[in-house]
Symmetry: C2
Subunit: 337 residues, 2 copies
DNA sequence: TAAAAATGCGAAAACGATTAAGGAAGGTTT
DNA sequence: AAACCTTCCTTAATCGTTTTCGCATTTTTA
C-alpha cells in the first residue's frame, strides 16, 4: 500500500504538503500540486478512509438498519426498492452504505447504537423494523443524524408514504365501482396500518356504507398463507363481501388463491385489491388493482434529507416528508351493476 | 465519545493496560482487568473500529459488489436472498457488510479495487455483475480475498448453483411427463445459461428428442415483457411446443400471460416451467414447476469460504463449491397422453 | 526602500487504538 | 544470598491521515 509518506519521500516534500495538494487546498504551489498529483497517480496511491475518518471524525459511511423478522429486510420487495434508490443517491455523494449488524449471536453483542459508534457512521437510516425495540429507541435518542422510513420519531425527520391518501383513493375507486360490501384484511397494528384503516373507514362513512366489524381482519404483512386463511373465513360467511382489500400485493395473492379454491373467480365473483404496486402486480392474471408506492422517491427523499442533516446540521429542519402513491387500476376490481 | 484514554485516566492505569484488559490478554492482573471492564461499561465506552482497523490492518468489514443493470442488485429476488443469508453468517462472526460504491457520478470516481482499498475491506464478495468488466477483473487480480457467486475466476473460490444438474432434473421430469416438443426461452449468454443449455440438449439427446433450432431463444433474465414476446413467437408457430422452459420464474410469468392471451391455458394446452423457485412460484395459479435454488446454502457457503480465506489464507484451498437445487413439481406441467 | 502582506512549505500534534520491549516487584530455585 | 522466573504494568512507536501554527521567501504597498 502506497501512502502519502511514500509520495512525500518521492517528491521531496513533507506529508503535510502531499495531503494539502491532494485535497486541493490553497496553500500549496500550483507546480508542486500538479507534480504531487501526477506522482500519486503513477505510484498507484489510494487514500485510506480509516485514517482519514479517524482524524476528521467523518466516515462518509451511513448505517442502514433494515430488519425483517430476524432477517435483513433485503428480501422485502418494497424496502429493497427503497434501499436501492437510497443507495444510489448517497453513493453519488461519496457516501457508502453499511448494514448495522443485527446478529443476535455475536459475542460481545453491540447494540445498534454501539455498533453505529463503533463504525463511526455519519448518519443512519432506519426502516422496516420494530420501532418500539429499546435498541432502536436508544439509537433514535442519540446524537447521530437519523431518518426513518414509514415511521416518525417525534424529534426526527422521516419519509412516509401517504398511506391515508393512498387508501382513500383506492377505496373511493372501489366504491365508485359500486361496491358496498368491502372487507379489509390489514396488516399488523402499526402506524401504517392505522393510517390506512382510518382512511378506509372515513371513505365508507362519507358514502354511508356500513360494514360488519369483522369485515376488518388483522392479518400480517406479506403473509400469503395467513391471508389465505382470513379470506377463507370471509368467503364462508353468509354475507360475503364483494370486494376484499389486502395489506399488500403479496397478501392479495393469498386472497386470489383462496377465492379460486372456493370455485369463484376474480373479478367476476369477488373483487380484490392490493397495496404497494410491486412489479408483479401488473403481471398477475387478472392484473391487480393496487396503489403503487413511489419507492424511488421515498429512497431519494430519505437520502437527501439524511445528507443534509449530516452536512448542515444547523440549518436543516426536521420534517416529515410525505410521498404520494398512485392508483393503478388493474382488472381485479369489477364494476357492480 | 469516551475513549481508552478516558478509562485509563479514571482507573489510574496506562492506555496499554486498558487495551489489554478489554481484549482479554493475559498480562493483566485479574483484579485490574475486572476493574477496567467495569469502569468501561459504566462510562459507556464503545470501541472505535476505525482506530483499531488502522492499526491492525483488519477492518472486519466485507465489501459486496452486486450490480444489476446499473442498480444494486438488491431488487433481484434471487440475489437478495443469497445476500441475506451471506450477511447473517458474516455478521455472526463479527464482520460487517458494506456495498462497494458503484456510482458512476461520483467525483473522483474510484474503481472497485480502489474503493476496496480505500475502505480496507478484509474481503469481497461478487455476484450478479458483468464479470468481463475490466474493473471487476482488476479486483479479481488483486490480493484481496474474494469469492464469487455463480461465476468462477480461475484462481479464486466461488459458489455456483448446480445449474447443469438442476436443468437435467427438470428436463428429465418434463420428458417423463411425455413432452417431446420442448422449447427453452433462456437468458443472456452467461456461464449459467450455457450450463443449463448444455443440460437441456443433453437430456433431449439421451431421449432421442430432436427439436427445431429456434425452439431455443435467447432472451433475458427476469424480463417478463421480453419473455412474453418470445412466447408469442413460439405459440404462433405451426409446430407449437407442448412445453416451454424459462430462464427464471419471473420470465415464466411472462410466458403464462402470453399463453393466456392466446386463449390457451396452462397446463391443459401448454406446459411451462421456471427456474429459481422464488416464494411466489408456489403461489401462482397454477403453481409453477421450477427448480428451487438453495439461496440459503449458497450464501452460507460463500460466507464461510470468504471468512476462511480471510482468517486462514495459507491453509484455505481454492475451490468451486457447487450447491444443488431441488425440483419443485408444481401444476404447470401436464402429463401428455 | 522599508514595512506590510501574501505565498508556499514544513514540523508536529492529534485522532484512538495495538503491541513490542522493558522494568519493578515479588517469589522460587540453587 | 545470588540468580532467575513470573507477574503486572508502563513507555513509546506505529497505523495514515488532517490541520494548526510558524517560518522563510517573495511580492505588494506606502
Amino acid at each position: 500500500m502506497v501512502s502519502m509518506k511514500d509520495i512525500a519521500t518521492k517528491c521531496n516534500v513533507s506529508v503535510a504538503t502531499v495531503s494539502k495538494a491532494l485535497n486541493d487546498r490553497n496553500d500549496v504551489g500550483e507546480e508542486t500540486r500538479e507534480y504531487i498529483k501526477k506522482t500519486a497517480k503513477e505510484m498507484g496511491y489510494s487514500p485510506n478512509s480509516l485514517a482519514r475518518a479517524l482524524r476528521t471524525n467523518r466516515s462518509y459511511n451511513i448505517g442502514v438498519l433494515f430488519v425483517d423478522e430476524g432477517r435483513s429486510g433485503l428480501t422485502h420487495d418494497y424496502f429493497a426498492n427503497v434501499l436501492d434508490s437510497f443507495k444510489a443517491v448517497v453513493e453519488d455523494h461519496g457516501y457508502d452504505l453499511t448494514f448495522i449488524n443485527c446478529s443476535k449471536k455475536r459475542e460481545p453483542r453491540l447494540s445498534y447504537l454501539e455498533h453505529s459508534r463503533y463504525r463511526g457512521y455519519d448518519g443512519v437510516v432506519i426502516a422496516c423494523i420494530d420501532f418500539s425495540d429499546p435498541e432502536v429507541i436508544e439509537l433514535a435518542n442519540s446524537d447521530i443524524p437519523l431518518v426513518t422510513i414509514d415511521y416518525m420519531f417525534n424529534n426526527h425527520s422521516g419519509v412516509v408514504s401517504n398511506n391515508y391518501a393512498g387508501m382513500t383513493e383506492l377505496v373511493k375507486y372501489i366504491v365508485s365501482k359500486g361496491h358496498r360490501k368491502i372487507a379489509y384484511v390489514c396488516g399488523e397494528d402499526t402506524a401504517v396500518t392505522r393510517n390506512r384503516l382510518a382512511a378506509f373507514y372515513k371513505v365508507l362513512e362519507e358514502n354511508n356504507i356500513e360494514i360488519p366489524d369483522d369485515y376488518v381482519m388483522h392479518g400480517a404483512y406479506r403473509s400469503i398463507n395467513r391471508t389465505e386463511k382470513f379470506t377463507d373465513a370471509l368467503l364462508d360467511r353468509p354475507d360475503r363481501p364483494t370486494c376484499i382489500l389486502y395489506s399488500d400485493d403479496y397478501s392479495a395473492m393469498g386472497g386470489l388463491n383462496s377465492v379460486r379454491r372456493h370455485g369463484l373467480s376474480v373479478p367476476e365473483d369477488i373483487s380484490i385489491a392490493g397495496y404497494d404496486g410491486i412489479t408483479l402486480a401488473a403481471k398477475l392474471q387478472p392484473s391487480l388493482t393496487t396503489i403503487k408506492q413511489d419507492t424511488q422517491a421515498i429512497g431519494e427523499h430519505a437520502a437527501i434529507k439524511l445528507l443534509n442533516l449530516i452536512e448542515h446540521p444547523r440549518t436543516e429542519a426536521l420534517e416529515q416528508i410525505v410521498v404520494d402513491g398512485t392508483l393503478v387500476p388493474g382488472k381485479s376490481v369489477a364494476e357492480i351493476k
